[in-house]
Structure formats: C-alpha cells, structure tokens
C-alpha cells in the first residue's frame, strides 16, 4: 500500500516520460535537496550559534548568520545553475558490443550566465533499494539488511559514470554520455540525471532527462573468423583474396574499418582518418549466410557474421547477406555494410526494426 502510494507520489512529482526534441529545464522540472555536506554545515552552524549565545559574541552572530545566509543563497544558485537550460538529444553512433556507446546531448545556454560543473549520470535504479529487492544478495537481520542495502546502493552509486562539464554563457555544449554496450540490439539511453552541486556543494539540484534516443549495438565481431570463400555462388571456389590492386581513392574512416587500410600518410597530413579504397573486379560475389557459420549458439554465429561483413567490406568484395528472415542482395560500400550489420544486430530480437 505504502509502496504504491510512494510510487504514485514520485510519478506525480517526477512525471517520468520519454521525450523527444528540445527540453527546456523549467522550474517544474528542477528538484533540489540538501546534500550530506549541507547537513554537516547545518550542524556546524548550530554549534557556532551555541557558542555565540554562550559567550555573547555579537560578531560571532554576524559570522554565523552570514554563513547561514550564504548557504541559503547557494540553494538559489544551485537551482539557477540548471534553470532554463535547453537540452536536446543528438545522435548516438552505432558501436560494437563490448564498446562504449556515446550518446550526444546538446546543451544550449541562451542566458548570460555561465553554468559550471553540471554533471550527468544514469538515474535508473535511483533511490535506496528495499531489503526485499536485495533479498538475493543479503540474508541477514532486518537492520543489518537495511545498512547493507544502503551500502550497496552507495557503492552502485559511486561507480556510476559521471560526466561533468561547463556550459559557457550564450553558447552550446555538446556532451557525450558514455554507456557500455553489453549486448547487441538497441541500447536505450534510459533516464539520465542532470545534476549540479555548484557553488558550495550544500544543495543537490537535479533534473531528469529521458530522451527517446537509442544506439544500435552490433554484435562483437569474432577475432578470428576467415571468410566463407568456398561457398561463393559462382562455384569457382577461387578468388584473388588480395584483390586490392586497383587503388580507387580515399574515404573517411568509419568505426570498424580494418587498421591496415587506414592511410597514415593522409593522417600525417592532418586530413583526418582516411581509408584506402580499392576496386574489386565485378562478378566476385560472396554470400554471407548464417547457416554457413560453424558455431553452436546463435549469438556466436552472429558474431562471426559481423566479422565476415567487416572483412568482406575491407577486402572490397561484393557481398550479400542471408538470414532466415531476410536477404540482402550482394553489393558493397558503407551503406551495404551498415545495412548488413544492422540486420545482424537486430536479428531475432523482439524490438521493432524502425530506427
């Protein structure tokens, strides 16, 4: 009953919902509570006040009141540090499983007030878990259980990723929030907490950001998986693997490109990461079929396929993809590669295919 009420209350207060577009942090969206340090200062101030009364120190009163009022004003400053920021979600480039996805967030500060020390962290699983939620981890008495729950919560909180940044006056800042990509498919940002304790660390002012951005996570490519060349549909079974005699030009590096293909000369000339492209003789087509993967589990098969796609693209082959539920005719180029990887990543997942 109480839990239900609590949930309803926090739903009313925090209005969790997924948003898109630009979010302006209005008064309604910013919350504020004192920090542990704030309470400590409160205690120190009470001590000081007692001293003032006892020793009748008028200047002591002045100092105590000054500190108290600075603390109170720091609450307004902490609130203001977030107020009327405009936040919008940017893109999140696809990554391979095991890498870290970078969700880009755009912060726009239209005001003349520089915003210092804003921090972002994941907020899913906020709040101290109940003992019941941790029953698997803790099997002790009630009080001990609560303390352990608190400790665990603190530990989880402390090793969460926190990204801190400033947004100068009348400027935009782009912040990449890293999330570890652990399994293929769509990785949601989840609810993020944007918070600040600036300027005195006495108040924690925060706002929830829950954007509908997601990041595509490809399976982790197997490290050693030779291309299934014997199964090329033309039946020759032979192909010039090197096949990269004809240099065709440079293109921009895309995550996943083979390192030997990077043009280091171009990089040295500060033209960014460029990849050498080679033309391949037409007609050499390669079908990457999941049924050709020798692995036992589906995930391993998909990992192997990912490697195949990368290698095939790197070697400039024309390749097609064959999955039980879809087929992609042979082609090559970045678009082909991405579409293949996408299908592999989302294969057999309950999620929808739309981006």
């Amino acid at each position: 009953m109480l839990t239900r009420l609590k949930t309803r209350f926090s739903n009313w207060l925090f209005r969790p919902r997924i948003e898109h577009g630009t979010v302006t942090l209005t008064q309604r969206r910013i919350f504020i509570i004192p920090t542990k340090q704030g309470f400590t200062l409160c205690f120190v101030l009470v001590l000081m006040l007692l001293g003032d009364i006892n020793y009748n120190l008028s200047l002591g009163y002045v100092l105590t009141f000054l500190l108290t009022m600075m603390a109170v004003m720091s609450m307004l400053h902490a609130f203001r540090n977030l107020a009327h920021l405009e936040v919008s979600a940017g893109r999140a480039d696809a990554v391979f499983s095991g890498e870290t996805a970078q969700f880009l967030l755009h912060f726009r500060n239209r005001s003349k007030l520089p915003r210092y020390q804003l921090c972002l962290r994941e907020s899913s699983g906020d709040g101290i878990p109940t003992r019941e939620q941790l029953s698997g981890e803790i099997r002790t008495g009630k009080i001990i259980g609560h303390i352990a729950a608190f400790r665990l919560w603190r530990r989880r909180n402390s090793d969460r990723r926190v990204v801190c940044f400033d947004v100068p006056a009348q400027q935009d800042s782009v912040v990449a929030f890293p999330l570890p990509a652990t399994k293929r498919g769509w990785l949601e940002t989840g609810r993020l907490t944007l918070y600040t304790e600036f300027p005195l660390g006495l108040f924690y002012s925060w706002s929830y950001l829950h954007f509908d951005t997601r990041c595509l996570v490809y399976p982790k490519p197997l490290s050693d998986a030779p291309l299934p060349l014997g199964d090329s549909p033309d039946g020759t079974g032979k192909r010039n693997i090197t096949g990269d005699d004809d240099f065709a030009g440079l293109r921009t590096y895309v995550a996943g490109d083979a390192l030997p293909r990077i043009s280091w000369k171009a990089y040295a000339r500060e033209r960014g990461l460029q990849v050498k492209q080679f033309s391949t003789p037409v007609g050499e087509e390669l079908w990457l079929d999941i049924s050709n993967a020798p692995d036992r589990t589906e995930e391993e098969k998909l990992s192997r396929m990912t490697r195949w796609v990368l290698d095939a693209e790197a070697q400039g082959l024309r390749y097609g993809l064959r999955l039980p539920d879809s087929e992609l005719p042979p082609n090559n180029g970045i678009a082909q590669r991405d579409e293949c990887l996408r299908r592999i990543a989302l294969f057999n997942l309950p999620q929808q295919m739309q981006p």
Binding site: L47, N56, S58, V62, L63, V72, L76, S111, L200, G201
Partner: protein
C-alpha cells in the same frame, strides 16, 4: 587535489590563524608557521605529503607540549591553541575533497574563536576578507576547473547577497542571554582596577590606553574636579597593601542635603568584576545593583559583557553624618609596627591641631610644601613604605599619596579610607561623550569629619593639581613612560583618534551591545507594538522570505530570454484553433503544406487560410519585416473564424 585549490586553503588557514599569533605561545605560532611553509613547499615542488606516522608524532608532541605549557588540556585558551595546531596538521593530510571540506568548516570555526579576543571594527572587516578567501576556496573545491576571476566573482556575489539577509537576521533573531553553561575560568579577560592596592599597581595601569568606560552626560557635564568615579573602597592596610577587608555591617548609607543632580549614560567595558562605576554619590541606576555601606555600586554577577546603564548622581551631598562606631573603628586601624616616623608626625599634628579638619589641612599643606613630586616612575620602597616615601624619595604616584595620607590620618586618629576608581576622562567632541581610559585610574582618600560625614580628600591634588584639572599627561614630570598617544600628540592625530573612538563607540553600542533589551527598544522605535518572541520570529521569517524572493526574481528573470514573438504566437494560436476541429498541424509540416491540407479538408477556409499562411511565411522567414505587414497579419489572424 589541485595546486591552486591547495594554495587557496593554505591562505584561508593562514588568515584565520594570523590574528591568534600574538597570544599563542611562541613555539606554537612558530610550529604552525613552519607547517604552513612546509606544506607550501610540498605543493610547489609536487612532493608527496608526509607519512602518517610522522604526522601522528607531531600531533602527539604538539598536544603534549601544549599540555605542559598550560598545565591543563581544558579551558578556552588551550582549546583555541589546540584548534590552531590541528587545523595546520589537517592541511598536511589534505588528500580527498572531504579533507578540504573539513578544513573549510574548521577555518570558519576558528574565525569565531578570534572574537574572544577582539570584536572591533577592523576585526569585522578582517573577518569579511577571510570569509571571502574561504568561500573562494570553497567554490573552487566544487568546480576544480573554474578560473580565478569567476571564482572570486561568485564568492563575492554570495557574500553580497548574504549581507542584507544577515542584517535582517541580526536585528530580528531572538536573542538569548547567555551563558548557557558554566564557563571555564579563563573565559573572560580582566583588566582594570583590582580589589587591592599596593605601590605600583595603579601606575602600571596608567600605561594602558584601553577604554574603561564611556560616559555621555545629559545636559551640562560636571566640572573636572567633580568627576570622581568610585570603584573599590579599601579599608585594611597590612603595611604595604590596601585591601577591602571584611565587615558584618551592611546598613545602607544615608545621604542628606543632596543637590546638583546629574544624569548620564555609562557604557562599561567588561572587566570581569562585580563593581560598576558611578559619580559620587549615586542616586539611582537603570540596572539592578546594591549600594554598599561605603557607597560602592555592586552587581550580582561580574560584568562579562559590555554593559550600558543610565545613572543619576548628586554631586553635592553629606554622607553618613551618623556613622556607626564600629565603622569608625575600622577607619582607624593600622599596623602599629610599621612606619614609626609617620606615626610620630601624625601624633605631632594631633597635638597641635584643634580639630580633625585642621589635621587634614595640615597634612595637605605638608604634601604641598615639602617638595613632593608626582611621577609615574617612583623608586622602590622598603618595608616601611610610608616612611620611605614621606621622608626619603618623596616621589610617588596617586596610590602613594592616597596610601600615605590615609595612614597619616589614621595615625592622627581621624577615620579615613582609600578609594580607588577613575578620575576625569578625555572629552570626545565628535561624539559628545567622555572616554575614561585605564590611564585615568586614580586613588584618593575619604575622611570622616564630625558634622560633615565622609569627605573626599585628594592628596594628589595638593601636589599636582593639574592631574585633577587636566589629566595625567599634563601632570607627570617625565612622561616618557606614557604611551605615545597619552603624551601630547599633534592635533590631527587627536582628531583622528576621537573620530575613530566615536565610531568604535557606535559599534559597541549598536553591534556588540545588541542584546534583548536593545533589540526590544530598537524594534519599538521602528514601530513594532507589543513585542513577543513569536512576533519577532514571524517578522524575521517574513523579511527573509521577501528578500530571498526578490533575489530569486532578480536572478532568474534574466535567464528567460527567449519568448515567441507575436507573429509566431498568433500563428500557433491559429493552429490550436484548427487542431480542435481535428486538423492538427504535424510537427514537420510547414505553413504552406499545412494550408494545402486545410484547403483540402475545409474548402471554405481555403482562401483566407492560404493568405494567412503566405503572410506568416513571409513575415517569419522573409527578409521584409515591415511593421504594417505584421499588423495586418495579426489582425487577420485574430479575425479568422473557424
């Protein structure tokens, strides 16, 4: 911990410790300074912090040293000293942000301890400067990569905003009269008159420029030779030292023929003694006191805080015309073994004089004519201190004259006693009040004469009348021993000093002396009626709320810069209108696309709406921002009926 932050914290600690340097034991000051320098060097050279065992060693050695130095580990002085040492040592193990936070709180606390010693205006200004440094470091701790300038600005803004709020709190915060618990013995410094007098005790006091109290008279001030502020009255003499003595008699004094009434306000600096000062003879005081049989004004508790009281005195009076015999007996006691020559002289006077008053006159003319000198640096006296002085050195300060005179009177069988207190004072024409300093401390005598009661006799006046008329600096032969300002400083310095004292007096009255009584008086003057705690607290919260709300308004107002312009607002209103009829504009839809869709769905609106859409696009995205066109669009948009 970044270097700049460490320097900031070092500076904070240095600033809070510096004012304590003079009253800390020298070795503690040096140790603290050494540790600060060491820490600065370590930060500068990026060397690692000292090992834990070494710090522990210093901590224990330091604490031990303090315990030996003070013979205790309790009390205010020791507490403050320990706090200094611990703060500097904490600096040596500054590793995590939490350590820095502890240091910041600690330095705020140390500022308060400084107020035990001084609460003057410079101290207050110094406090603000220190607070500024501390808050700057504090902000830096929260945002490690913020530059110095914005850091200072934010700290200054916080401080400035807190000032008016502090003023409200200071005026309205309900004051509780301390102390809440028992004080350590050394809680209050005491300076000023003592309850005993021996040769040299007053001349030592005369070197102090400290203010004893300030007086402002209602109406015309009395003559200087009437400004005798009575302190302890000393009855018993052991040959060297005069003391209060004991008596069972506590009958109140009887004053007759009272005249020359005068009202005045005294602001007494705390001296940690129970007596208050009033002109002879006090008639009534605004604070609860008792008037003793020898006309001292005593309070129940020692004066540990600055005390302000109004008083009324009668400058002409007859005191105790009928004195109890036992009291007169006390006024005649003296150690017979000492000072035989003085006793012999007194006996001669007794034999040659008709009455007691004649003996007094004889004594005064003796002092006047026998080449006595008034000096701050009298030679040392032997066992027979009065004889040595009377017939040997003939040089003395007021305590020598008062002591010798009373001794002679008693030896001549005239009841007499020593009165200590203050005489005169410096007039401050800026603030229109008198400053009575420790250097105005004085001792005189009182004799009891038949038909006249207790009469004040000032033997010093017989030798150096200027002392009574003009003050100390005009009267001593060699004033080299006096502090510079007590001699004859140039006029502009005098003026500066008087102006400063006026300011200090206001400060004392209104800031340092702001207690329950003052608070109520002040609030009544502001127009608050029937004051209660609840009312004050309510007013305080309301005032704070109001000012904070104003600040909030001011701080947040300029953040909201972007508001849709009128054209856009009108367009959005149109879209909302249509949305009600089931034709919402899609987020991606441009104005013209939307108009086309509307035209298809509602042909009767087609022309008007299309016109509006075209106008809107032109106004919003076109280069032409004609006021006329704007106006037309707004009118048409408002006129559209769906």
């Amino acid at each position: 911990m970044n270097k700049a932050l460490t320097y900031g914290l070092l500076l904070s600690i240095l600033m809070v410790i510096a004012p304590h340097a003079e009253h800390l034991p020298l070795w503690v000051s040096s140790l603290c300074l050494g540790l600060l320098l060491w820490r600065t060097y370590l930060t500068y050279s990026s060397n690692p912090l000292p090992k834990r065992w070494l710090l522990m060693l210093i901590t224990f050695a330091g604490t031990g040293g303090i315990a030996v130095n003070f013979h205790t580990l309790f009390g205010r002085e020791v507490g403050v000293t320990l706090l200094m040492l611990l703060a500097t040592l904490k600096l040596m193990e500054l590793r995590k942000p939490r350590d820095a936070m502890v240091l910041i709180y600690l330095s705020c606390f140390i500022i308060i301890t400084n107020f035990f010693y001084s609460q003057s205006i410079p101290t207050a200004l110094y406090m603000l400067a220190t607070l500024m440094v501390i808050v700057t470091a504090w902000v830096h701790l929260q945002a490690p990569n913020i530059a110095l300038k914005p850091r200072l600005r934010i700290a200054a803004v916080l401080l400035m905003q807190a000032l008016p709020l502090t003023l409200i709190l200071f005026i309205l915060f309900p004051r509780v009269q301390g102390p809440l618990w028992g004080m350590p013995q050394d809680a209050y410094a005491s300076s000023g008159l003592d309850d005993k007098m021996s040769p040299g005790s007053l001349s030592r006091l005369s070197l102090s420029e400290a203010v004893a109290f300030r007086v402002s008279y209602e109406g015309k001030p009395p003559l200087r030779n009437q400004m005798y502020w009575r302190g302890p009255v000393l009855w018993e003499f052991d040959g060297r030292t005069w003391t209060l003595g004991r008596t069972a008699l506590t009958s109140p004094p009887k004053f007759t023929e009272l005249g020359q009434e005068i009202d005045y306000v005294v602001t007494l600096e705390p001296h940690n003694k129970i007596w208050l000062f009033a002109l002879d003879v006090p008639n009534k005081l605004s604070v609860p006191v008792t008037l003793t049989y020898d006309f001292q004004v005593l309070r129940k508790e020692p004066v540990t805080a600055r005390l302000r009281y109004t008083a009324r005195s009668n400058l002409s009076y007859r005191a105790n015309l009928q004195e109890a015999t036992r009291q007169l007996q006390r006024g005649l006691q003296l150690p017979k073994l000492y000072n035989p020559r003085a006793q012999k002289l007194a006996a001669e006077w007794r034999a040659n004089s008709a009455n007691d008053a004649a003996i007094v006159r004889t004594a005064l003319s003796y002092f006047n004519q026998q080449g006595f000198q008034y000096t701050l640096e009298p030679p040392l006296l032997g066992v027979h201190s009065v004889d040595d002085f009377m017939f040997g050195s003939k040089q003395g300060f007021c305590e020598h004259y008062a002591s010798a005179f009373v001794f002679l009177m008693r030896a001549a069988n005239v009841p007499a006693r020593v009165v200590t207190g203050y005489q005169g004072g410096e007039f401050n024409d800026v603030g229109n009040y008198y400053i009575v300093r420790q250097s105005d401390a004085h001792a005189w005598a009182e004799v009891w004469l038949e038909g006249q009661g207790w009469v004040r006799v000032d033997p010093t006046g017989a030798i150096a009348p200027e002392r009574v008329q003009l003050g100390l600096s005009a009267s001593v032969l060699s004033n080299a021993a006096l502090p510079f300002m007590a001699r004859n400083p140039p006029q502009w310095m005098r003026d500066l000093r008087l102006n400063w004292d006026t300011l200090a007096n206001q400060w004392n009255q209104w800031v340092l002396g702001y207690d329950t009584e003052r608070q109520f008086a002040f609030l009544t003057r502001l127009g608050m009626e029937s004051i209660t705690w609840q009312k004050i607290a309510l007013n305080m919260l309301a005032g704070l709320g109001l000012v904070i709300a104003l600040f909030a308004l001011f701080m947040l107002r300029h953040l909201i810069t972007h508001q849709p312009d009128k054209v856009q607002a009108a367009w959005l209103k149109l879209c909302r209108k249509l949305a009600k009829y089931g034709l919402p504009r899609a987020a991606h839809e441009g104005a013209l696309d939307y108009a086309e869709r509307i035209a298809a769905a509602r042909p009767e609106l087609a022309d008007v709406f299309f016109d509006l859409a075209v106008r809107y696009s032109a106004l919003r995205y076109g280069a032409n921002q004609d006021e006329q066109a704007r106006h037309e669009f707004l009118q048409r948009a408002a006129a559209l009926k769906v």
